[in-house]
Assembly symmetry: C2
Homo-oligomer: 154 residues x 2
């Protein structure tokens, strides 16, 4: 079938990083790259909200709503990348070994972050600026709490 | 207010990459990193679908539906990163100058990709495996068409 040819060509064209095998067989370096990509995009859409909550940028309810909706999907994308196979990766990472020695606590931190994002989505629909700013603060707090414990300090 | 303190602390904690200024003042290197992160995640969620469409992995309708929904959000995230200020970036990128000399054609390629993803989302709800596989092929074709023209070959 024609689309098989297209796909075969595409797999070549896309090049580095494309792994067609199951997740468990994926290269640790690819998983590190993917989880870092999720963190990069979370920060892309959180950064402007932090600026608003801090009064460093004008408040814009539409941006809050759009970014909250994006974050509500992005907040599911990083976690499967913290596979035990990435523990000894040669990739540059600030992930601490405590991620794998305290999996329940790490999972709890993810859930806490996701709940804070859900609250932000709800707040973004309320039309209440103070409520949105408080919800942004709570998301920030959940990021910081996880980073404090599970990420190497610089 | 307490959350302002939290945010100020977080801004420090998050460190590199956090830019609280408006988009137009954002560092070109940060924009390149963010657009590449969007491409990395698109491939994370497309890769397994390509494998299914090629018969290299067992077909799983739930994975198709989940990944299609993720892609339906991710497909909006890369494009503002192709800001003219990134044209002479020192960051490693395969973006070709034709992106900025043919903006209408570049925009058309984005729209084509987004339409193909929308079709995939619709197909993923149809319960029709052949339809889903064809829609995956069409998404792949739209990736390849854009890469052919706007991305440096390796």
């Amino acid at each position: 079938m024609r689309f098989k040819l297209i796909l075969a060509g595409l797999a070549l064209a896309l090049g580095a990083g494309l792994t067609l095998t199951a997740h468990s067989q994926m290269k640790p370096e690819v998983m590190v790259k993917q989880r870092q990509a999720a963190m990069t995009l979370q920060l892309k859409y959180l950064g402007p909200l932090f600026a608003m909550a801090q009064g460093k940028a004008p408040f814009n309810a539409e941006t809050v709503a759009r970014n909250a909706a994006y974050l509500d999907v992005l907040d599911r994308m990083a976690w499967d990348g913290f596979d035990p196979s990435t523990k000894d990766t040669t990739a540059t990472t600030r992930a601490l070994p405590v991620i794998w020695s305290e999996p329940a606590k790490f999972k709890e931190a993810q859930t806490h972050f996701q709940s804070a994002v859900s609250e932000l989505v709800a707040a973004s629909k309320s039309g209440d600026e103070a409520k949105m700013k408080a919800a942004i603060g709570a998301v920030g707090k959940s990021c910081g709490a996880c980073h404090d414990h599970f990420r190497e300090k610089r």
